[in-house]
Amino acid sequence: MNRAYPSVDEAIADVFDNATIALGGFFTAGSPIRLTEALANQGAKNLTIIVQSVGIGNWEVNMLLENRQVRKVICNYPFFRSASRVSLFEQQLRAGEVECEVYPLGTFIEKLRAGGAGIAGFYTPTGVGTLVAEGKECRAFNGKEYLLELAISPDFAFVHAYKGDPYGNLVYRETSRNYNPEMAMSANITIAEVENLVGPGEINPDQVHTPGIFVQRVVKVDRPDIDVTIEVSPEEMNT
């Protein structure tokens, strides 16, 4: 089993127009920057992007938005925190050029896990009595109300890991794990960029975070080291 690819360009070459792609990571931790750059170069259009945010937290989505590759974003935190700062995504949304679907974070990730785990839908207490409940089945179990939320199974997932092997086994580092494991499970084709590509047997099998069965392609990348602190003012973080 050798799932290693020689380059990010080859690893993402078959991403097609209208594809749904989950992007793992958040801010500096675990975001698949190199794969996203490659996708911006590759040029697939009309994409649905599933990602935590399109503000500061996942600025790499801007590469796709600038290219007008995105038709829709499914996320949990679409905008800059401050309502007075308008992101490129918010501009395109207000102009009707992109669509946006927002879920509570726990629902967002559980929908992806369900997609990966063969579960069609699940009942969550989150969002009951809010705008999130609009159009959804609400049902009581043991006297408490829950919403029915359905699974999502994207065509592709791009994830970033600290270490990987040719079987696709992945190890994440610290909080860069975040969205990556569930997104890797959820997709039809999961592509992992890894900082270190090691041989079979070089990862302690008790310490694998994402079993290789969930990862179809692995590609070695340079560790992205991008200073985005300039984007985050202390005032903004504490308001």
């Binding site: 500096t28 905008f79 879920y103 989150t126 909080t175 975040n178 973080m237």
Partner: protein
């Protein structure tokens, strides 16, 4: 609508002291999630205490913000800030993180608020005036509001323009219904009880009438009303 007599920006305690008051509310041995914004200030007041902070990005035993040479791009909190580890730390996925939150394993969530109702409804993610319609930055707020065993709101008592934030019914879109247990503001500490809002502590120099004047619903005055002590 009540016309506020006391603009919140010029009186009462600072955000730092509000955070200190919240810290005093947290028992040793608790698992706590601090929401984005003012709630993160609570972390400054619990260092060295036996309290485990969860960062919903996937970490327990989150330590203080990282200093320059400690910064590690793989180790951040949900506010995009580099943080550090404390002993007993562990990492996990977002899926497992929200299993913890929604599954009732977090003892306390400290959340910011745009509005809190007299029933304990919370609105914290969307101001209609933003023009963002029905979309907005929900993030983890709804899961935390629903899932934590106790929800403490930390907020200025009134808006920048002097409007009450503690209201009869939330006008802003809800985060969750009947989820708030305690409200700590720059002026008072108010508990949400089945009968309504119980005023328990007020800042030195203010009267219950002062607090009522900037609070939309009728407050129940605790028989044990105290000065807000820090």
């Amino acid at each position: 609508m009540v016309t506020p007599a006391l603009p919140g920006s010029v009186i009462g305690i600072s955000r730092e002291l509000m955070a200190l008051r919240v810290a005093a509310e947290i028992e040793d041995g608790s698992y706590v999630n601090l929401g984005i914004g003012i709630p993160t200030l609570v972390s400054n007041w619990i260092e060295g205490r036996d309290i485990v902070l969860q960062s919903e990005i996937g970490m327990l035993n989150t330590g203080p913000l990282a200093e320059a040479d400690q910064i590690d791009q793989d180790l951040i909190n949900a506010s995009c800030q580099p943080v550090t580890e404390l002993p007993g730390c562990c990492y996990f996925s977002i899926g497992e993180s929200f299993a913890m939150i929604r599954g009732g394993h977090m003892d306390i969530a400290v959340l910011g608020a745009m509005q809190v109702s007299e029933k304990g409804d919370l609105a914290s993610w969307n101001v209609p005036a933003s023009g963002r319609g029905k979309t907005g930055n929900i993030g983890g707020s709804m899961d935390l509001a629903v899932g934590a065993r106790k929800v403490i709101v930390i907020t200025e008592h009134v808006t920048r323009t002097g409007e009450p934030k503690i209201v009869r019914e939330c006008i802003y879109p809800l985060t969750a219904r009947k989820c708030v247990n305690l409200i700590v503001t720059n002026l008072a500490v108010i508990e949400v009880v089945s009968e309504g809002l119980l005023l328990k502590e007020i800042v030195a120099g203010l009267t219950t009438e002062d607090i009522q004047a900037v609070t939309e619903p009728r407050l129940i005055i605790s028989p044990d009303l105290k000065e807000l002590a820090l």
